[in-house]
């Protein structure tokens, strides 16, 4: 789903590969310019402060591995997810993702509140890159999984936030991605639905070739990850075997 890989495909090439990856944000540009500031000549200054959210990041994810991304807030974990899913393009270096990527970044984005759940399945599926006939053929399964019952034909504005999240998860998880990117593990809906969604997630993870997980839940990461990438202020603090990295990270977090 991302652009054609910029790095030539080799045999047994890693599924995900980042080389010298760098992404910057313009601190000034977070506040967008206005017509007034352009007219007054203060809007287009070139001495704006640049913040590298990621810089010189190198790592590889091989077929069948699960990469955990750890680090304090503001380390660049979410920016990395945006880059891997093809939403942001690198300002420096390269990122290659070889396979169909799916992200469960934020649920419920892109719902049209005035349309029914069913209509929103069509729209959301199209955003995710499904063809109409693909969505149609999965429609009943998605509706059944969401457990929304008669609500599915009601406008989404009448849904509770839990119902919205359930619908969104049902759509996003009906994809069969080769590479799964999860930014903060989701817990959706009530207890029963949480169990169900966890099962579904495990199925998805079992089927995918590579997984990237961003989480602060250490036990969860210890259980699942084969490798870990430790980010700090946009730089790689460490990359290697999961247990080893997690031990080092926890040792640093622990009070002296």
């Amino acid at each position: 789903m991302s652009d054609a890989p910029k790095i030539a495909r080799e045999k047994n090439a890693p599924v995900i590969e980042a080389r010298g990856l760098g992404i910057w944000f313009n601190l000034q540009s977070r506040r967008r310019v206005s017509i007034k500031s352009i007219l007054l000549g203060s809007g287009l200054r070139s001495d704006q402060k640049v913040l590298w959210a990621l810089r010189d990041v190198n790592f590889e994810v091989a077929d069948g591995s699960v990469l955990g991304v750890i680090g304090p807030n503001g380390a660049g974990k979410s920016t990395l997810c945006l880059a891997l899913s093809g939403i942001l393009t690198p300002d420096e270096g390269d990122v290659a993702v070889r396979g169909k990527v799916s992200t469960l970044l934020s649920l419920g984005a892109g719902f049209n509140r005035d349309l029914s759940g069913r209509d929103n399945i069509l729209v959301n599926g199209a955003y995710l890159g499904m063809r109409r006939d693909e969505i149609q053929s999965r429609m009943e399964e998605i509706v059944a999984f969401s457990e929304l019952g008669d609500f599915i034909d009601q406008p989404v504005r009448f849904y509770s936030s839990g119902m919205r999240a359930r619908l969104s998860f049902s759509i996003a998880s009906s994809l069969e991605p080769e590479i799964l990117i999860l930014d903060e593990v989701l817990s959706v809906g009530d207890q029963a639905f949480q169990r169900k969604s966890r099962e579904r997630m495990q199925q998805m993870m079992a089927r995918s070739r590579a997984i990237v997980l961003v989480s602060h839940a250490m036990p969860f990461l210890r259980e699942l990850c084969t490798h870990c990438l430790w980010l700090e202020r946009g730089h790689v603090r460490g990359f290697g075997e999961a247990q080893e990295m997690l031990d080092a990270y926890e040792a640093e977090l622990a009070p002296e």
């Binding site: 540009s29 017509i35 955003y127």
Partner: protein, 271 residues
């Protein structure tokens, strides 16, 4: 995923679903539903008819004035409503753009397409008004599809341009409103290009030649002239006008596409 032409075409299902969803939600929100698309141009036409022909008594030059004014109002309305929607669409879809990789160009394109569908309903009003006014709708009508294509290309190009600047510049929407209001009166909407020629001739000197040419630099002057040739005068559009419109509309699309592609992924950081 960049908004290259190929990527957008590959996601034509997305374009269709989004356009349909937009139309469906608009017709579900308001009680009158799709009837608004007919009422809206009708009301606009009545206002200008009453003010210009009724109160100012200036309608006889362009009688039947309702047809004359609709020829301008309809494409103009498609333009302004598309641009208004496009200028805010990227910001409004921020969370979506940041959570799913898709060619974001689909968003402004969809706004233009949905409003183009409204425009087609407006054309029904134009047809009905022309028929009631007893105008001979004839062979000139074969030119209408071509005019519609040029209109779509032109509005699409300008909307792409405005969509990325709308994401970069905070107060573009308000600014745009004023620009479009000035544009409305500078375009031959309430009057015809023939009046511009007449007045410039009165001024004499170099203005007699150059002022009408300056007016025709505005693609809407050419487009509206085309609509009037088709519905009002029932005659063929001059070949020079077709040439001018081709250059203007495809030039706008080319520019809008290049600029959008330049800012495409960069804009996301600004949202």
């Amino acid at each position: 995923m960049n908004s290259t032409f190929a990527n957008v075409v590959a996601r034509r299902d997305l374009l269709r679903e989004l356009t349909l969803a937009d139309l469906r939600s608009q017709s579900q929100v308001s009680r009158l539903g799709w009837l608004w698309w007919v009422v809206d141009p009708l009301v606009m036409m009545l206002i200008y008819w009453v003010v210009v022909a009724g109160i100012f008594g200036r309608g006889e030059r362009y009688a039947p004035y309702p047809v004359f004014i609709l020829c301008a109002m309809l494409p103009w309305k498609h333009f302004t409503s598309s641009l208004n929607a496009a200028s805010g669409v990227l910001r409004a879809s921020e969370s979506l753009i940041k959570s799913i990789a898709f060619p974001t160009m689909a968003l402004p394109i969809t706004q233009v397409l949905a409003r183009f569908w409204h425009h087609l309903f407006g054309l029904l009003v134009l047809f009905a008004t022309s028929w009631i006014a007893g105008l001979p709708l004839g062979l000139a009508l074969v030119q209408l599809p071509l005019l519609l294509v040029f209109q779509l290309v032109l509005v699409l190009g300008l909307s792409l341009l405005v969509a990325c600047f709308g994401a970069l510049i905070r107060d573009l929407k308000g600014f745009l409103g004023h620009v479009m209001r000035v544009g409305f009166y500078l375009s031959p909407t309430l009057y015809g290009i023939d009046l511009v020629r007449e007045q410039s001739a009165n001024l004499g000197g170099w203005m007699a030649d150059w002022l009408p040419r300056l007016f025709l630099l505005n693609p809407f002057a050419v487009l509206i002239g085309g609509y009037r040739d088709v519905f009002f005068f029932n005659r063929m559009v001059e070949p020079e006008m077709w040439a001018l419109l081709t250059v203007q509309s495809f030039g706008a699309l080319w520019l809008g596409y290049r600029v959008y592609l330049h800012f495409d992924r960069r804009v996301i950081k600004f949202l």
